[in-house]
C-alpha cells in the first residue's frame, strides 16, 4: 500500500489529527483494495449470485401458491412467493458477504496482510469502519445485480424502491459485516469458518422473516416465532422489504441501527490492541 507508506514516511511520528482529505485517502485506499479483490475474483461474484438465484428460481418455484391468502405490509396487493422472498435473498447476500469479509479478515491475519493495514497511523476504529464500508459496498453491488436479474423474473418493485433500498442495504450490510468482523476476532484459523456457517449464518437466515412471513411462523410454532422476533436479521430483512416498496419501517430501522452500533463497538473493542481480544491470540496471527 504505497499510500500508507507515503503517509508514514511523511510523518514518522503520527500526529494526533488528520485532515478529512487524508481520512478520505485512507478510505478510498481500502475500498480500492476491496474492489480490486472483488474484481479479481469473478468466481466469487458469480457464486454470490448463484446462491440467491437458485433460491429464487428453484426453491420459490415450488412455493408459488404458498402466499396470497393474506396481504401483509408493505405489499398492497397479493404477491407471489418469489416476490416475497426477494428482500430476504437480498439480506442473504449481505449476510453471506458480511461473513465472507470476516473470513477474509481471518485470512488476512493468517497471511500477515492485516498487519499492513493495522500499522497504518490512522485510528484503529477508522480503519475497521473503512474496511467494513468497503465490504458492504461490494455486497450492495451484488444485491443490485441480483435485483436486476430478479426484475426479468417479474419481481418488479416500484422504481423509487430501488433508490430507497440503498441506505437500507447499507445499514443492514453494516450490521452483518460488523457482526462478521466481531466474530472474526474470535476465530483462530480459517478452518473454523465452517462453524460460523453452521452456528451463525444458517440459524440467522432460517429463523427470520426472510423465507416466510412471521404470522405464518407464529401459526406453526410460537417458540420459533419468538426466536425469529429476537433475530436481528429479521429486522434487516424487513427494513429492506419496506424500503424496496418505498416505505420506512421505523422499528426495524431502530433495531438494525442499535445492533450495528453494538456489533461495531464489539469489533472495535476486539481489535483494539489495548484491550486485546486479538492481542491474546497473537501467537496464531502474523506470518506464521
Amino acid at each position: 500500500m504505497s499510500l500508507h507508506t507515503q503517509t508514514t514516511s511523511l510523518h514518522p511520528h503520527p500526529p494526533r489529527g488528520f485532515t478529512p482529505r487524508q481520512y478520505l485517502a485512507c478510505l478510498s485506499g481500502i475500498m480500492i483494495r476491496e474492489g480490486l479483490r472483488f474484481l479479481n475474483q469473478r468466481e466469487r461474484f458469480v457464486s454470490s449470485l448463484v446462491r440467491p438465484l437458485l433460491w429464487l428460481f428453484v426453491f420459490a418455484a415450488g412455493f408459488r401458491q404458498v402466499l396470497g391468502v393474506s396481504i401483509i405490509p408493505p405489499y398492497r396487493t397479493y404477491v407471489l412467493y418469489e416476490v416475497y422472498i426477494t428482500p430476504g435473498l437480498a439480506g442473504m447476500i449481505l449476510l453471506f458477504s458480511g461473513m465472507q469479509s470476516s473470513l477474509s479478515m481471518v485470512y488476512d491475519r493468517e497471511m500477515g496482510n492485516m498487519r499492513t493495514l493495522l500499522v497504518s497511523p490512522f485510528p484503529r476504529w477508522f480503519l475497521l469502519v473503512s474496511k467494513l464500508f468497503a465490504g458492504v459496498a461490494v455486497s450492495v453491488v451484488q444485491v443490485y445485480a441480483f435485483f436486476a436479474i430478479a426484475w426479468f423474473w417479474n419481481v418488479r418493485p416500484p422504481p423509487v424502491g430501488y433508490l430507497l433500498v440503498l441506505p437500507a442495504l447499507f445499514l443492514g450490510g453494516m450490521m452483518l459485516c460488523s457482526l462478521g468482523m466481531f466474530l472474526s476476532s474470535m476465530i483462530r484459523q480459517l478452518e473454523n469458518f465452517a462453524g460460523i456457517m453452521n452456528f451463525v449464518i444458517f440459524p440467522m437466515y432460517f429463523a427470520s422473516s426472510a423465507l416466510y412471513p412471521l404470522w405464518r411462523i407464529q401459526e406453526s410454532s410460537p417458540l420459533l416465532f419468538r426466536i425469529c422476533q429476537g433475530n436481528p436479521f429479521t429486522y434487516a430483512v424487513e427494513l429492506i422489504r419496506f424500503a424496496l416498496y418505498g416505505r420506512i419501517e421505523w422499528m426495524s430501522l431502530g433495531i438494525v441501527f442499535g445492533f450495528t452500533v453494538l456489533f461495531l463497538g464489539g469489533a472495535i473493542f476486539a481489535y483494539d490492541p489495548a484491550h486485546g481480544l486479538l492481542g491474546r491470540k497473537r501467537d496464531t496471527g502474523g506470518n506464521g
Binding site: 408459488r64 401458491q65 391468502v69 398492497r76 396487493t77 397479493y78 404477491v79 416500484p158 422504481p159 423509487v160
Partner: protein, 325 residues
C-alpha cells in the same frame, strides 16, 4: 464516470415513468353475501361508504350521466335504483324473477336483463319503468352484451351453452352460436366487429365474428402450476381503443391480459381469490376486479398491467361499476 451518469439517468427516467397520476372516481361494488354495496374512492383506495341494499346483489351498472346506480337484487326479484348523490334507494325497476346481470343500451334508455330462473331476457324502459318485452332464451341466461350501435344484443345461456344474438328492434333472436360449457359473459369490441364470450367450465373465451356470427377464434388459458379446472373465465372487458382485453379467471385468482389482434395471452395478473367481474375507470387507466372469496377488489394499472392495490370490501364482492365523474 459515464456509466454512473447513465445509470443515474436511467433511475431518474424510471422514476418519472413510474409516477402515476391519481384519479378520483367512485367505484360501486355489489357484495353478494352481506347484501350491501361498497362505495370505494379510487384515488385513496378506501371504502367511503357501505350501503344496505336488497338480497343477493349481483349485476350492477350506472346511468350514463352517473346519477343512478342500477342493481340486480336477485333474491328480491327486482332491480334497485340508487341515487349516487344521496346513496338512497330511490326506486325499483320491474325486472322479472331472479335478475342476475344486465346491460344498458348505448342511449341509456333501455335495460336488458337476464332472468336466470325464467329463461328470459326482460327489456325495460327506464324512464317509464315499463317492461317492453320478454324474450325467451336458453336455459339459465346470464351474460349480456350490446353492440356499440345498440342494434344487437347478445345473451349467453349457461346451460344451453349458447350465445343468442337478439335484434333490439324486433326483440327476436336472429342467431344462436354454440360456445363452450357455461358461458358467463358477453362483451362487444368497441368497433362492434367481434363479441367475446367467456365459458366458465369450458375454460375458454370464444371470439365471435359479428358479421358472420360464427366463432372465429377460441382463446385458451394456461397457468404454470395450476390445474386447468381452476381456470374459469368469467368477466371480460376490452379497452376503449380495442387493443387489450382483460379476462377474469375465477378460482385461478388471475386476470388474463389478451392482445385482441393476435388473441395471445400477454400476461396473467395475480389478484384475490375467485375473481369474478371487472370494470375500467372512465380514464381507462385502471381496471378493477372483484375477488369473491377473499372479499376484496384489486386495482390493476392498465399501462403496466401490474396489480397496484387490493382493498377489502363486503362479503363476496360480485359486480363492480365506476362512476363517470
Amino acid at each position: 464516470m459515464p456509466l454512473k451518469s447513465r445509470f443515474c439517468t436511467a433511475v431518474v427516467m424510471s422514476l418519472v415513468a413510474g409516477a402515476q397520476p391519481a384519479s378520483a372516481f367512485m367505484a360501486y361494488v355489489s357484495n353478494e353475501k352481506d347484501n350491501t354495496v361498497s362505495v370505494v374512492d379510487t384515488a385513496s383506495g378506501t371504502v367511503v361508504k357501505t350501503l344496505p341494499v336488497g338480497q343477493r346483489p349481483r349485476g350492477i351498472t350506472i346511468s350514463h350521466d352517473g346519477k343512478f346506480i342500477y342493481l340486480c337484487a336477485s333474491d328480491d326479484d327486482t332491480i334497485e335504483v340508487i341515487d349516487t348523490q344521496t346513496h338512497e334507494i330511490v326506486g325499483q325497476l320491474p325486472s322479472g324473477p331472479d335478475p342476475e346481470l344486465f346491460v344498458l343500451s348505448p342511449d341509456g334508455k333501455t335495460l336488458y336483463v337476464a332472468n336466470e330462473d325464467d329463461n328470459l331476457v326482460t327489456v325495460i324502459d327506464i324512464e317509464s319503468r315499463d317492461v317492453l318485452a320478454e324474450i325467451p332464451v336458453g336455459v339459465e341466461p346470464e351474460g349480456m352484451g350490446i353492440s356499440p350501435d345498440g342494434k344487437t344484443m347478445v345473451n349467453t345461456s349457461e346451460t344451453t351453452n349458447m350465445a343468442h344474438f337478439i335484434d333490439t328492434d324486433s326483440h327476436e333472436i336472429t342467431h344462436n352460436v354454440l360456445v363452450d360449457s357455461r358461458p358467463r359473459f358477453a362483451e362487444f369490441k368497441p368497433d362492434g366487429s367481434e363479441v367475446w364470450v367467456s365459458a366458465e367450465i369450458g375454460g375458454t373465451v370464444s371470439v365471435i365474428d359479428n358479421a358472420s356470427r360464427a366463432v372465429k377464434h377460441k382463446i385458451t388459458f394456461e397457468i404454470a402450476g395450476l390445474r386447468s379446472e381452476a381456470i374459469q373465465p368469467v368477466g371480460v372487458r376490452i379497452t376503449a381503443d380495442g387493443k387489450k382485453a382483460y379476462v377474469a379467471l375465477g378460482p385461478a385468482n388471475r386476470v388474463a391480459v389478451v392482445d385482441t389482434t393476435t388473441y395471445k395471452v400477454e400476461k396473467y395478473v395475480l389478484v384475490g381469490q375467485r375473481v369474478w367481474q371487472l370494470a375500467f375507470t372512465p380514464d381507462q387507466k385502471t381496471i378493477i376486479s372483484t375477488n369473491g372469496v377473499s372479499n376484496d377488489i384489486t386495482f390493476i394499472d392498465v399501462a403496466t398491467d401490474e396489480p397496484v392495490q387490493s382493498i377489502t370490501v363486503g362479503a363476496m364482492p360480485w359486480g363492480v361499476v365506476v362512476s363517470p365523474q
